[in-house]
Symmetry: C2
Subunit: 429 residues, 2 copies
């Protein structure tokens, strides 16, 4: 039987994992698809570099076009990352009738609809399970597993670096900067950690999750993102004392035709299943009208977990090829236009930590501001601040609109008894 | 466009949910499959009974053959339960070229391979996502999501009734019989709870999970099952004190070509993600060679969660029909024969609670028995028994074979210093 020939763009951590799995699980894979899957050509930056896997040097190339234009290659697997150049390769591969499997969240978050349309036009499959939450098969779960349901909320811990940092801060009472330094030394955080710690990586993944979960053409510009670089160990301490863990959550919500998607550090009730997802693990919590609450948990990154998703996509591509239905199941290009909620319509509980003057009547003045903007309060805790002559007030609100909370904060800015709005967090669970 | 016509066998809780979702989400469903899905005929026990949903009386029938032999029905959805009669209907429906979606774990655990073979023979789809863990799309995750990986272990909390009982016993220190009574009053446990509390329901679900996860023809007879009716509140108390929760776990393991599948109350380390799955919720923990640990969590039963899985299967059937690939993706019939591990080859940690004579040398005598059968110990705790003149010894072993532990227990039976082997549990995590 004619084998399926794969061209691999990139032989870094994940690319190496793909080779390992395709070779190590070859027998299992063949028993499922009925024919051999062969890595035919691999794009590398330097052919002579030594590697942790043995690979026929004739299969290596430093020229991507050797793969894109290769007449015998059926499927291109892209694990090189990057946006502009990579997009060109993928579009050209699709134009030549090659199916594409990619792990590239940046590319899919920015150019997903265009790439999917190109795939459709050419009768090709484009699959990208590995782009979100590494080894967790969450994209096919949203598309196939919940095809019958109306998903109304997706909450994700989809960035391992920030979850590692917040877990360490929570468990050891360490400061953000100390844990970041440690994470960089361990290779869990990059030298320039901006994309992870400022929530941009998570925002890209939430773009993809919301698109598939809500069957709506969400673009990255629709996602508001705030990272963890301003989180203090005091914030985490107060969270724990009130029964919460602080997590960087991507939250996508839908109500009728309106959606909102955001990434921000969020206080999550300790009893919520997502609160106990620790370290570099990822989890995606999905709430459906009919199914209620579900959660999917696993490794969010790493050579083999990510490669598992890529090779599962490869198996799907080969099955579709054999069944003659390639390119028939890419729905994204037809999805509805996104209508965003305004800040008046986005509702949640909030946590606020205020530094205030320590004198009579202050609490009354502050709670009056909340009342003025119709924000009702779930709990209020006032205590002396051990380090300062001022007092601390911790407030958790009932559900309130984002706009109302912003007005409350703005008003505090002009109130002489409020020295500082130290922290504001969304609250879930 | 010609609508897809569905015949529904059964209009109990889950059947009602199917009608609600197909009608309530019709627009969403049509946007995915491109044509209407219509419930054409519904089998009920009594046509005149009043119902919580409004349904055209002309669609109701008390004769299953009205549906099985109906010339226009494309898909039969079976939610009536039962084995012998139901099997006949499903086999006949498949013979007539109708696709089948079923939630019937008993039937699939007992006759899965035969039914799947019949579907294949007739070019029909047979899907049964709802048969295991209600709303959690775990079967398609095993088949598609992890197609590239080699799954080596599946642990499941797949019975909501027993998880509810154990959760209550753990959280409130209540006795088994009190909580069972309460669960029966709340409708979480049946009047005859045997199938749930003795682990038989879980065993059927583990048969299905192991079959799909290991791609091996597991039969129900391959699963050893023990239930929770002998669990005492003391057992749970001791478990918690040592940092464990007691859960009824289905455990399927694979090593090379050998498998073992069992259901038993198991001490799970509190830090393991499955330990905090409480109440009627289900969770399936999957360990793959490449992906590492993953877990899938959600409602295990209930009208709408279960119906979600059924209608997702229905969507898959319609997509396959439109793509012309019906019946091409049912792999089970070709799966490998099951080779079971012997008790010598099944290995885990164990917890033992012994009542022993409270005198010098007893602990030495007991630990000598473990040594004799080469079972090494992780921890030993001896304490006076507040209610009796004898002492209690709690032991957690290192990994030991099931056969060796049985020999240890047998030897204790003939030892005069051991009054009673009070409890023996497998330990995980």
């Amino acid at each position: 039987m004619k084998p399926i020939k794969v061209g691999l763009l990139g032989l870094g951590t994940v690319g190496t994992g793909v080779v390992r799995i395709v070779e190590g699980h070859q027998e299992d894979l063949q028993s499922q698809v009925g024919l051999p899957i062969v890595i035919e050509k691999v794009l590398v930056q330097n052919k002579t570099k030594s590697r942790s896997i043995s690979i026929d040097p004739d299969k290596l190339t430093e020229d991507p076009w050797d793969i894109i234009r290769h007449p015998d290659i059926d499927v291109v697997v892209e694990v090189m990352g990057g946006i502009a150049g990579t997009k060109e390769y993928i579009i050209e591969a699709l134009s030549r009738g090659k199916h594409v499997v990619t792990a590239n969240k940046d590319l899919m978050a920015l150019h997903g609809p265009e790439i999917v349309a190109k795939a459709k036009e050419n009768g090709c499959d484009i699959l990208y399970e590995a782009s979100v939450a590494g080894g967790i098969p969450i994209l096919r779960t949203l598309v196939d597993g919940f095809s019958s349901d109306r998903i109304t909320k997706i909450m994700g811990i989809v960035n391992g670096t920030t979850n590692y940092i917040l877990t360490k801060m929570s468990q050891e009472g360490a400061s953000y900067s100390d844990v970041l330094k440690e994470a960089q030394e361990l290779g869990y955080a990059e030298a320039d950690p901006t994309s992870d710690v400022e929530g941009l990586d998570a925002a890209r993944k939430m773009t993809i999750l919301a698109t598939l979960g809500f069957r709506t053409n969400v673009s990255l510009a629709n996602v508001s993102a705030k990272g963890i670089s301003q989180v203090s160990k005091e914030d985490i301490l107060y969270a724990k004392r009130l029964g919460y863990e602080l997590k960087l959550l991507g939250i996508a919500e839908r109500q009728d035709d309106l959606v909102s998607i955001s990434v921000q550090p969020t206080m999550v009730k300790q009893t919520h299943p997502i609160a106990s997802v620790n370290g570099v693990f990822n989890a995606v919590y999905v709430y459906g009208d009919a199914v209620g609450e579900t959660m999917f948990y696993g490794a969010g990154a790493g050579e083999l977990p990510t490669a598992t998703s890529i090779v599962a996509d490869l198996v799907a591509v080969v099955k579709n090829l054999k069944l003659g239905v390639s390119g028939k199941q890419n729905g994204v290009a037809d999805y509805k236009e996104t209508k965003l909620k305004s800040d008046d319509q986005i509702s949640s509980k909030y946590f606020l930590l205020l530094h205030v003057a320590d004198r009579a009547g202050v609490l009354a003045r502050i709670t009056q501001v909340f009342a003025e903007f119709e924000v009702s309060l779930e709990s209020v805790l006032q205590q002396p601040n051990p380090n300062n002559p001022d007092a601390e007030i911790i407030i958790i609100t009932h559900d309130a609109s984002k706009a109302a909370i912003q007005k409350v904060i703005d008003t505090f800015g002009s109130l002489d008894v409020v020295y500082k709005v130290k922290s504001v967090y969304r609250v879930e669970g």
